[in-house]
Assembly symmetry: C2
Homo-oligomer: 326 residues x 2
């Protein structure tokens, strides 16, 4: 399988690294909006191409993994490039998925290619687990907790405050809430009861720290509904202690069975990730295998993780899977 | 969807209860080897039929859920009845799955029906999670822990000892081992380090308790390789405190990503089940929906949970799933 990467940020580099862990795949091209000669990629002998020349690569690439952002890149790129390639994206604006799906499905239906959208862990593996658990236990409650991990959106929101040089925000699940859910008690939990927010902030010299802290803690949507802690640290400390991009989370469904609903069951799926982008990349690469295989079988159109039979993701044959894994 | 149940033990009764939680399904027949008039089922107005008459029910049943045992029932029943019905079974003798698959696939290919075998939680949901996690993190280690829960096989082994009236054996994961695995350290663990075994035994009056305890603890395969605790209790206590069939377990994969394999990730799936048979039944019922839909689309042959696209399990449409769950 010959794989191309479009967009060479954290996610694109993660895909490059992940391809090396899959012996049936080969990286054949990195495509960028930047001047190609300005890009130094990690894999020797692989061409870097400008996005304007992407249509010349159709014979060379079996699946294109699109590593752009959900706000402005993917809504344009995925429907456009599925005209020429099987594609994978990690579109993660939950509310706009139906619209994105419709656009990509139309283009993929016309081109005869397969697109798998919204691949990653949420949406992605978390969605899968919500779906499986809900189908198995129709009477029950779903809970999703995020963290402990860095929220890019919340970190950015702090950076926009006057007097802030840099910031890192961690979302942290409340252990007591997790325990209550795990017990099968099906509690009703407010935003504040589920997560706390911890902020590490580098301020300009002489900035009014009390004002900054107050602006953070009272920021609507982002922080006002949570118990938020603010720590002011130096830029050196931020770089030394908070340069990673860890994340993770937990999806739990608790439900009941029995003629009198007398038996409780708890299904839990959890992730602890040292690198959020590298894990997402690893999921993208597994689904790239699926897109390639499904298209080879004659399938076309837009899919999500909910539409892909699990065995398509594995390097093993059906026979091996049944023997070794089932 | 009109569902039939073959075999009315714990699993069959669990299926009967689970069907009531799925508004798109209806129980239409219970089939048994016993005299039908001797069977009292929980659902009014549903016919009970003798297994000799099962071929008369083909027009009435969309999917037959076969609730027999893996040792002698399913190897015969599943290949036989897939000649007439879409079928689901919970065949769980891991080592014999390839052979069972081949037999069922041959018969299903000829009849044009769909069979989904080895449905449940292990094999079943645990297999699925081992497969997804292995495809996402190709470099890593798998761990499966079972319990805390009742092992039917180990309880039976104790009951065969002279002087034992009844017994219940709990398999318990060792918390320290779980923690080591969750840390991402990828330890090598012996059987003894992963699970302990706790036995509650009712002995005949005047039986030699020391001999019974010794026979349990030294029993090869079942107990000799584990730290085993034996408690002698009365029959009343056994009935009062150990009549449930709880089970559960944990599947963990820890793996690495990055150009220098510098980032660790831990994927964990866990189940805590008040009733092992009722949870298994709930999984069977969700896959019954999938078998029916796949066959309606023209698919045939033997499948496992690894071959079934997740969306087939859900009562929701693709559109609803994308909007509400993804």
């Amino acid at each position: 399988m010959r794989v191309g990467i479009l967009g060479y940020g954290n996610l694109g580099r993660g895909v490059e690294a992940a391809i090396r862990q899959n012996s049936d795949m080969e990286l054949v091209a990195v495509v960028t909006r930047r001047p190609p000669e300005s890009l130094k990629i990690a894999t020797e002998g692989v061409g870097v191409y400008h996005i304007d020349d992407i249509k010349n690569l159709t014979d060379m690439i079996d699946v294109l993994i699109i590593c752009g952002g959900s706000a402005t890149d993917l809504p344009v790129q995925t429907p456009e490039y599925v005209k020429y390639f099987n594609v994978i994206d990690s579109f993660d604006t939950h509310a706009r998925i139906p619209e994105h799906f419709a656009n990509v499905d139309k283009a993929a239906g016309e081109s005869g290619k397969v697109a798998i959208i919204s691949v990653g862990w949420d949406p992605g593996m978390f969605s899968l687990n919500r779906m499986y658990a809900g189908a198995i236990l129709p009477e029950g409650n779903d809970y999703t907790f995020w963290g402990k991990g860095v929220s890019q959106g919340h970190s950015d929101a702090i950076r926009r405050i006057e007097g802030v040089v840099d910031a890192r925000q961690y979302t942290i699940p409340v252990e007591k809430a997790l325990e209550a859910v795990r017990s099968g008690d099906a509690p009703t939990l407010s935003a504040r009861e589920k997560h706390t927010r911890e902020c590490f902030v580098v301020a300009e010299e002489g900035a009014d720290l009390a004002r900054i802290e107050n602006e953070i803690k009272t920021m609507p949507n982002y922080f006002a509904d949570y118990d938020t802690t603010v720590h002011f640290i130096s830029l050196d400390e931020l770089r030394r202690d908070h340069s990673g991009i860890p994340h993770g989370g937990v999806v739990i469904r608790s439900g009941v069975t029995g003629f009198n609903k007398e038996h409780k069951h708890v299904i839990e799926y959890s992730l602890k990730l040292d690198s959020n982008p590298e894990f997402t990349s690893s999921v993208l690469v597994a689904y790239a295998r699926a897109a390639y295989r499904m298209n080879k079988e004659g399938q076309k159109g837009c899919k999500t993780v909910l539409d892909v039979a699990p065995a398509y993701l594995s390097q093993m044959s059906g026979e091996e899977l049944r023997k070794k894994l089932l």
